[in-house]
Amino acid sequence: MSLEIEIGFTLNGVARRAKVPVGMSALTMLREVCGLTGTKYGCGEGECGACTIRVDGKTLASCLMFAADCDGRAIVTIEGMAGDPRGQALQRAFVEHGAVQCGFCTPGMVMQAAELLARDAHPDAAAAKRAIEGNLCRCTGYQKIVDGICAAAQALDKEHAR
């Protein structure tokens, strides 16, 4: 039996506690302990970005993070983006631009794109490509994803102007 660690953290703004095996990844905890399956397991080695989450305001590959290290930290997953203006703008723009094909990479893409829009309200295509450098789309629909990110930025701009 593996050593278990008690931790407390906020998950999408809600405080919660969990008991996790010492070697468990944050990704496994989110999916199997917390029941939030929006965050995807792709490669398990930080190469694909499907498991991207936000921890204390920075995006990380949750497959490489020890769940025990979530203690005291603020975690945001794709489920937490539903009420987020950037998350909503990205969702609409991704749908409008056909940026979702099989959809497996989409949660990670949206997490990473939201991170970009938080620091750069007017990204060009090059900035969008750089931001998703750690996210693989096996459908290879990158152009539509980049279009979606840039369109979301423009939509947010219009909302601000109103």
Binding site: L3, G23, A61, L64, E133, G134
Partner: protein, 293 residues
């Protein structure tokens, strides 16, 4: 699952506590960003010790500051911070440029400078620039009296082999000291891989020197990554460049010497022959660029 061996998990906030944990029976495995430790324990390449020691909450290890003529970087400074911090950009632009070519944002946000160094991969992206910059590492241990004892060593002496360092089991790498870039500093970094992001270097080349008003290069350091068991200095090439004014012929000769200084192996990423070709060509391109600008 290899983590079954872990009997204790500690996440101290004080350096003394972390150092004391290193001395616990059965030893301690140090966790910082986790980006290397997680896949390596899963693959069975690292067998965790009895204690898993998470140092991420230890205060005072994530600082970037200038101490006299040295830039002092805490072991927990993230790779992404190396890329963006204006103090790093000003005093160690070579290191900031190497961070620009490091993995992906998700990895750079989690990965730490100290973790990259202690992982001691010959292809580690911060190792080659720090070797070219004559950096020193600072290690800390707890004395018998319970006080923090520190020692420093040149970074070239820290790496003893692939995945191996001169860090003792009771020591923690606490920081890196980098001589600040002079006003006449010249630096270049090049990394070869199959794609810009998330690639382990096929080879890397880092150049640091000074170029005075008479155009002569001095203090030339040319460091090579992923062409030996540790990052290494291309001393033959450095000798050809030291005190000289760079021109096309000298750039060519130095690039040839750098290729001879490399000690590459054949592996899954490239053959030794190809690595030598890359060292020669990237070094020449770099030196030609320095000669022109």
């Amino acid at each position: 699952m290899t983590m079954e061996a872990v009997q204790k998990y500690l996440a101290p906030t004080r350096l003394e506590q972390a150092l004391a944990a290193l001395g616990l029976p059965g030893g301690a495995t140090v966790l910082a960003g986790g980006t290397d430790l997680m896949p390596q324990t899963h693959a069975g390449r690292i067998r965790p010790a009895a204690t898993l020691l998470n140092i991420r909450r230890v205060e005072g290890l994530d600082t970037v500051e200038v101490d006299g003529d040295h830039l002092v970087l805490g072991t927990l400074v993230s790779i992404e911070r190396l890329r963006f911090d204006p103090v790093v950009a000003r005093h160690a632009p070579l290191l900031a440029d190497a961070a620009e070519h490091f993995a992906s944002e998700q990895i750079r946000n989690a990965g730490t400078l100290g973790g990259n160094l202690c992982n001691a991969s010959p292809a580690g992206d911060t190792l080659t620039p720090l070797l070219a910059l004559d950096a020193e590492v600072e290690l800390a241990a707890l004395s018998d009296a319970g006080t923090v004892q520190r020692r420093r060593m040149p970074i070239g002496a820290f790496f003893t082999g692939p995945g191996r360092t001169a860090r003792n089991a009771d020591e923690l790498l606490v920081g890196v000291r980098v001589p600040v870039a002079a006003g006449d500093a010249v630096w270049r970094y090049a990394k070869a891989g199959t794609r810009p992001a998330l690639d382990i270097s096929t080879i890397a080349v880092a150049l640091a020197a000074r170029r005075a008003g008479d155009a002569r290069l001095t203090g030339v350091r040319l460091a090579l990554g992923a062409v030996g068991p540790t990052p290494l200095r291309a001393t033959g090439a450095e000798a050809l460049l030291e005190g000289q004014v760079l021109d096309a012929a000298r750039a060519r000769a130095a690039a040839e010497a750098a290729a001879a200084d490399a000690r590459p192996i054949d592996d899954v990423r490239a053959s030794g022959w190809y690595r030598r070709e890359l060292v020669r060509n990237l070094t020449q391109r770099m030196l030609d660029d320095v000669a022109r600008n």
